[in-house]
């Protein structure tokens, strides 16, 4: 499988007056046309990694890497103008909460139409047709009705489908989803994931799936990267996650209560300072 995205020794640092905070400490990975999960607890640097790929890091952040290449484009060396051809068009990002990511005062359909790249736009009617087709692709039952709704009028699950529709409009080849289903109920989450799964397969997309939910990556992704304190401490195929080797991964898995758990106490994760350096 040829990799679309090559990341080698990526670092994201924040310089404050007193010290340097390293959010991402030299990580390397590749993403082909597959579903790659990045798991970790809050503050492990998973979102910072996603932002660095899109060059959307906060202005104070210093991003460096030996290689940060997407389909032959050097993302770090690209100008802001060149990035416009990548960001949104070839790599797009699904955010956690559609309530905040969608424009509250714009009709859903118009927002999705806005995501059609300029050179592919047609007449108003043509664009509308394409949006309706896309809403249908994310399995919204009545696209014509949803087209005219405002974001506050749709449920969380519907909002997330709308966001997926919007992100797919420019026909990207890599999709970054940052906790796309954390705000959703379990059953709604399953439906949204199934849609994402099918579309990724049909359109031959690469997917970077960022989450803190170990159960979910193990069952949804092909490959998993486990992040701790800005480093990738372990990489494995998703189905093998239960047999992970690294003490951090093992500790996380053990601390999770399971259905039918009979342990009197849950083992608490003991953090080894060596995990950061080793």
């Amino acid at each position: 499988m040829s990799a679309q995205l090559l990341v080698e020794d990526l670092r994201v640092r924040f310089h404050t007056q007193q010290r340097v905070v390293e959010a991402v400490r030299g990580i390397s990975f590749t993403v082909g046309r597959e579903k790659v999960g990045i798991v970790g607890e809050s503050g492990s640097g998973k979102s910072m990694t996603a932002r660095a790929i899109l060059r959307l890091s906060p202005p104070q952040a210093r991003v460096s890497a030996k290689t940060l290449r997407f389909q032959g484009i050097d993302l770090l060396a690209s100008s802001e103008r060149q990035m416009l051809a990548v960001r949104g068009r070839r790599i797009s990002m699904i955010m956690q909460d559609p309530k905040f990511a969608l424009d509250p005062v714009m009709r859903v359909g118009d927002q999705i139409a806005e995501a059609i790249p300029g050179e592919r736009r047609g007449s108003r009617a043509e664009d509308r047709e394409r949006v309706l087709a896309m809403l249908d692709a994310v399995q919204i039952r009545n696209p014509a009705r949803v087209f005219d709704l405002y974001p506050h009028e749709v449920s969380g699950g519907m909002g997330q489908r709308i966001m997926i529709a919007m992100m797919l409009m420019p026909e990207p080849s890599l999709l970054i989803a940052d906790e796309p289903t954390s705000a959703l109920d379990v059953t709604v989450r399953m439906r949204v994931l199934a849609i994402l799964d099918e579309l990724a397969a049909q359109r031959d997309l690469g997917l970077i799936f960022i989450t803190h939910d170990l159960n979910l990556v193990a069952t949804f992704c092909d490959r998993v990267l486990i992040m701790y304190a800005g480093r990738i401490v372990e990489e494995c195929t998703a189905r093998e996650l239960a047999h992970a080797q690294h003490p951090y991964t093992r500790g996380l898995l053990a601390s999770l209560p399971r259905l039918g758990d009979t342990r009197a106490r849950l083992p608490v994760l003991r953090r080894d300072p060596e995990w950061i350096s080793a």
Partner: protein, 255 residues
């Protein structure tokens, strides 16, 4: 200890929106009863009614042998306390740990305030160093420990827990669940735990009520829930969804 019969709560014009619809259950002394369900099923509303935050309900509630009216006495608030979901939102940002723990003691005119605060901090694993800190100086897990300390400092008999770990990382969740297990044993607490996480609920509770759109659909023991004794299709659906992603299964779920 707690007995609820035909509880109804409505919101909107004439209670048109039934948030809790004819719910009945009971919780024995020193038992932990679990309520599981998805957002909007009425589980938090139910807890808010029990602890007196919502006065607009009808039905019958008895706590510790006493029939509840919408207005509660001061003694009631001392014996029933609640821990909320979001430790970032439930603590006053400009009150120190000491102030937050002193206030309930002063309201209920309890003695030995100083000693009680240090004992309480010790018990929830925070230690004396935290006493004069502010919430922004605490991590999420430490804040939730503080919220538990604040609820327990009045020595309540009943502790209501509304999604106490859903805002926390899994490793921190384990710490808080262990703490709750330990404390409820030492203090012989009667608890109601509300959560959307079936694994957490079945780990912590003896009996579990499954809620959907304001009703308790079925009541099961933890063993029945995790075995295959769940009957209601909604419970079965929740159970399979909580086992992780399964494409074939996801296609069968209703929209």
């Amino acid at each position: 200890m707690i007995r609820v019969r035909n509880l109804r709560v409505g919101f909107g014009v004439k209670g048109a929106m039934r948030a809790v619809d004819n719910v009945s259950f009971h919780v024995d002394e020193e038992e932990t009863f679990g309520l599981v369900g998805e957002s909007g099923c009425g589980k938090s509303t139910l807890l808010r009614v029990l602890c007196g935050l919502n006065r607009n309900w009808d039905g019958e509630i008895t706590i510790a042998g006493e029939v509840m009216r919408p207005e509660r006495s001061r003694a009631f608030f001392k014996s029933v306390q609640m821990v909320f979901q979001d430790p970032y939102g439930s603590l006053h940002p400009r009150h120190s740990v000491n102030a937050m723990l002193s206030e309930p003691l002063a309201i209920h005119r309890m003695d030995r305030a100083d000693a009680r605060i240090s004992e309480m901090l010790e018990q929830v694993g925070l230690g004396p160093a935290f006493r004069y800190r502010y919430p922004h100086q605490l991590s999420g897990g430490q804040r939730q420990r503080l919220a538990i300390a604040r609820a327990l400092i009045l020595e309540p008999k009943v502790l209501l827990l509304d999604e106490p770990t859903s805002a926390l990382d899994v490793s921190v969740q384990a710490e808080i669940l262990n703490l709750l297990k330990e404390i409820r044993e030492i203090r012989r607490l009667t608890c109601i735990l509300v959560s959307h996480d079936l694994a957490v609920i079945s780990y912590m509770c003896g009996r579990i009520g499954v809620m959907n759109s304001g009703k308790i659909l079925e009541e099961l023991s933890a063993a029945q829930l995790t075995g295959s004794a769940a009957h209601h299709p909604y419970t079965v659906q929740l159970l399979s969804a909580s086992r992780g992603y399964d494409h074939a299964l996801a296609k069968e779920l209703p929209d």
